[in-house]
Subunit: 220 residues, 8 copies
């Protein structure tokens, strides 16, 4: 387990991260961390490593692209002083190119995506102890699908930045692909984007494996 | 893993099981299985054992006692023809003795509790392949607390019936106690009864360990 | 134009037909015929052939399968005494096999689908002057996609019944496919099932071409 | 077809244009372009000319007069940089003279109407490739009706400006009149102003004929 | 003043009478008699003739035709045992012929209207001391308008029945016509049917003049 | 009739005047002038003197005392440039002394009341052609009742100011007293303050008599 | 203290008793006993005599007269098997005579009131250990007020029945009168009927004094 | 009775004090002082000592800690110029340490608590005639419970400050403890913090005894 006692773990991203979290805090009583993978991670950390006292904060906002993250980075990341930071962004950057193809102002093309994400990562690195980069994903098994192919290209950007900057890398697309061999895409997400709880469990598991969660403790 | 391909697993109980599940189905799209341990179990089974295709149904109803379960047993359990049945009941049977002590009609004392639960178990056994009995619990570490002590007595009844009837037994109180050594009760449940997601994770884990969930698959 | 002066045209189907129509009437003032292809058909008939006075009735109900249509056929079709009847059913019959694969009770497999649809068509034929059968569809260009492939098989059933029973046949999948060569599926329907207004226009156009709508009147 | 690949077509006007569009955007997913003629135009362009990728934006606001348009012209028209601009305004300018005749501050008389509309047209012309002026209308067949007569005078102003400024001209009153020969006014609009979907189809058709929409493509 | 001390005056009709009255009573505290002419009549009787103690009951229901009145006549009129009965019906009987011309089941043509209204009047006469028949109306000054002309024909039926049966007759159309010489129709009713408070005052005044209200008492 | 063609009549006051008027306008379509005496006055003027075209504006605000009127006098009276101004204020000034007797900050005692009301009247007189002062009232027949006695003293202040400043004077208390001889106070107002429609008719009648409304026109 | 360990005390009446209690139970968690004197009595008994374990049930229903109580006596009183029964009814029986004087069907005159109340008392006496009769009241100090005078006559009926039947008698009017010497009626109830919490405290105190509550325990 | 005629008594605190009081006033008509002990105190003072005319103001805000009180002290206490001031704060200061133990920014530890409370008391003393300090409490009988033990330490701070500053001291924990000998904690508060009305009565009683309320007046 890479996280240490008393550390603060901050997640930032889009609707996959948000999941109706409390605004503006994103932490605290009741459903403050939302209803997605962040809350599953939180529940597993709290129940399995209660002695670590990991503080989980959710700063996801539905509909965000990397351009939106940049606009609120100072307030929602730097000023929060997290020990660990996890970023999953890019789905809307790609999706808008496919669901509103004629509104080009709303598209974030791959060059802007890469430059912005790299800038945010570099800006944050000095202040954190650990950094996790999660790829965007598309719950579609057909690699020839135009949107899946685009998402894969954005995911490759995330991988490159993670390698260059020494961040932990989580390949969410690969995690979904494994299950897509058995289940139809629609079982995991009605629109191939917003996962069911089973889909969020896949995300949480991929994240936790990256930070060294010890699953054998669950069996005790 | 004790569950087999294509089996139907039905949970019945009170608000801890219910968690705003869809009525009357308790299964299907979106949040049909609610927001508690049933959904976590469902998410873990679907994502980790997708090839088994386990069908999870939630028939919990908030506020129920064992007396209420009896009234709807034919409709909500027998007629559903589950392969596996999990019962967690008793919290309200006990709680009403402590929060409305003067309204004795609303209390289900231990003799009625034991007789009714045994009757329901015996009525269901012939039709199912597996039966899981989960104890009621009270997220209070002080064993001398009057309500905790009562809950422990009801839990002991569940254990006895499980042993006599050959059901799998899940000691939820023990599962909570382990974490209560580190965390204060209020961190897991604002009223010592309705768990946070961390608390529901503890319930799900205890249940899954009873049915032989293989956690090492999570690390792959 | 195949419809004659004063005739009543009744549409029945699932959510694609329903589109929030008034219940139980499905005709009348304001948005009584809903917000989908039925209303576009109605608007085009009323504005282009006002002298015909075609009465359009919408009896779609969201979530329906052919099994549900059978249960309400007497009330919602026979008793309404339409002159023309249009049926588009089957999407949910197929979809449930893919989004809730483990709940097999909710699936309507192809044999039941064919038998039921044929029975309904035969039951209605004596009372109507014209009958239109529209295929179910899936707005997914990849023919190898499992759900698209299944939908195509159900569509073939519709075609066979139309031929056997002498009904007008509308191939909605073909109509969508033509546009899917240019536009990504997500532009026409967020979940590949519920169309945008552009998607409903495609359905309305396919229907109107089948009944001989004269588009040259629009240019006058 | 006068519109070219990738162009942006912006509609501005009052409640007939607005129809509950999204604010402030007036474009995007779901019902962003509202429920009136703008959305019908959008649906027909997208489904019939998908390869053109026309971007349709709706900037109508209910209750607006030409005086209100002037106040937001910079923001809602100039700054949007449309390639094509369509204006339909004047109904409220006239209507207030008839429904609240004693509140003279709320009336926009014909001189102010003409001067303001001409100013807005002239201000926009340099920036756009195409300009469409649609008359206001009153769905009342009796030309001697005081409000219809007034609306006709305002419509004549629109025609004059269109001719002087070289804009495409859409005579919506004439379009409605054709159908009013067959249908009673109340069938097309409960208050003779806000059209049913059949009425909006009449508006969409008149607009599309002005820009050269090829209806023969619909029959293919 | 024709009404005597302690008498009960019952109004029945459609939305013009209803005006959001309390259901099912139509009398009592707060806005029980609705917000239309019935309440104005009630307010004027109570404040000007308090010593008479006239009990006013409103049994109007929005959307009703004379066919609907017949269906509830026993319950809502006969069983109420009014001393005076006022009927104003027919607007919807006519209106549906003009706003949903293709749904002929919803139209009440003039023969059925006359026969039904006469039957209701004759059925009620023995039990009441006074009977008032108010014409339906259409706030449209153009007598050549198709719906106005139809309404005038229905009004003539009311007049004939009033004469034959010895009922007091209130010509509401004439009352509106007087003001329509000065004001545009839209000032009195946005849809030419549902009056503003000024329009309801015209109805109340016409009714009160029929029953001999002494306006000179208002000046004291 | 003292009002002339085209004049604007503005009412200001507390909840008796407000009656859920539209904010901020207090004039226009639908129920813009509220549901009290102002609307009755408006309805009677519009229907009986349509040729005068009197514009009625309601600027009452619930809960206001004369102190609140002063704070908004510039905006809500002076800037509106009415031809006629009617003021009815003082009920809350008195009532707070009786329903929250211990919160003395909320009481407006008679000296402040008189000074403020006189100041407002003098400030407005130069700009208006006619000024109407209506007394506050308390629908309680017992003159020895402490709150009624206080209200009478405030009413006397209004009378004195009206005489000194040459305003028309409306004694609303006297108008209610006349009916209170026959009806119990509770019939006219559930709390002896907020009138039923019968009570508002009494207020409207008293106002209209002051401005010379000719009731004999109602009988024509 | 007349109540003994474990007894059940049931209150029945109108809105003064009801105060938004839970329906149908009128007992249990949260605000089940409403927000009036019943809850104050309950709070004082529970906190001052916790060892007695008195069970308080509220069966008041807003708007009830003694006629309504009779209709539900079997269900809401007899079948509940209370040890102590407290009845406060009559305010609506009187009030309707004063707020809707013309609707005589809604009035319960004094003879019917006395006969019905006596019948209910006699029917209940055999089953209960203690019976409390509370007078209706009117928070109006002027004994000459018509409604106060009527209420006093109904209160005298309650007193007579209490004496004849050996019930405890609570003179609520006298209890209010004592405070009305100092406070204006409006301070205790906005409509002279529905008390503030101070008014409910007066009712609770009068009730508790009748059953022998020992106030000196409060000072300990 | 320590309070004198016409004095203003202001309560400040957290949710126990707030109880849905009106914002921002916290005094006035209807439920302005909320639904907790403040309103019970108010009701008892008003009904038992009406001649004193004590003005009760509630400035509690849910969720507040002593840190929050400091931030609004000038506005909500000093500027209100109370004669008597009662402070009950500290529950949230402690609770957050137990329900969100990992969010340390939200905890107010005992040193900050003591320093801040002392500062507020000293700042207020010069302006008030009487000052009451009420301890925070935890309705848990087990003194070894971690949160109860912490609450007791904070209560000891309150006691020390009260002694040093000469304030009246109310030991709310002791008041609850007396009843906890007989009743289970859950009977008085579902979460051991937010009391039932019985619990609020215990608080009101403890407060009133501190200011010398004479309970023997209740028996008169």
């Amino acid at each position: 387990m890479k996280l240490k006692q008393g550390q603060k773990l901050l997640f930032i991203g889009d609707s996959i991260t948000d999941c109706d979290r409390s605004k503006p805090d994103g932490e605290g009583l009741f459903d403050a961390t939302g209803r997605g993978y962040v809350t599953i991670v939180n529940a597993l950390l709290t129940s399995t490593y209660p002695e670590l006292g990991i503080r989980v904060v959710n700063k996801g906002i539905s509909g965000n692209t990397v351009r939106d993250l940049k606009a609120r980075w100072e307030t929602d990341v730097i000023a929060q002083r997290p020990d660990w930071l996890s970023i999953m962004i890019g789905i809307n950057d790609v999706w808008r190119q496919f669901d509103v193809p004629f509104i080009k102002d709303w598209h974030v093309y791959i060059d802007e995506y890469e430059a912005t994400l790299r800038e945010l990562v570099q800006r944050s690195k000095p202040g954190v102890e650990g950094l996790v980069l999660m790829t965007p994903f598309y719950i579609e098994p057909n690699e020839a699908d135009a949107m899946r192919a685009a998402m894969d290209r954005y995911g490759a950007v995330v991988k490159r930045i993670a390698e260059e900057e020494g961040a932990l890398f989580v390949d969410t697309q690969a995690a979904f692909n494994k299950v897509l061999g058995t289940l139809y895409a629609g079982t995991l997400a009605w629109d191939r984007v917003h996962p069911t709880q089973a889909g969020h469990m896949i995300l949480a598991r991929a994240f936790l494996n990256a930070i060294g969660f010890d699953w054998s403790k669950m069996a005790q």
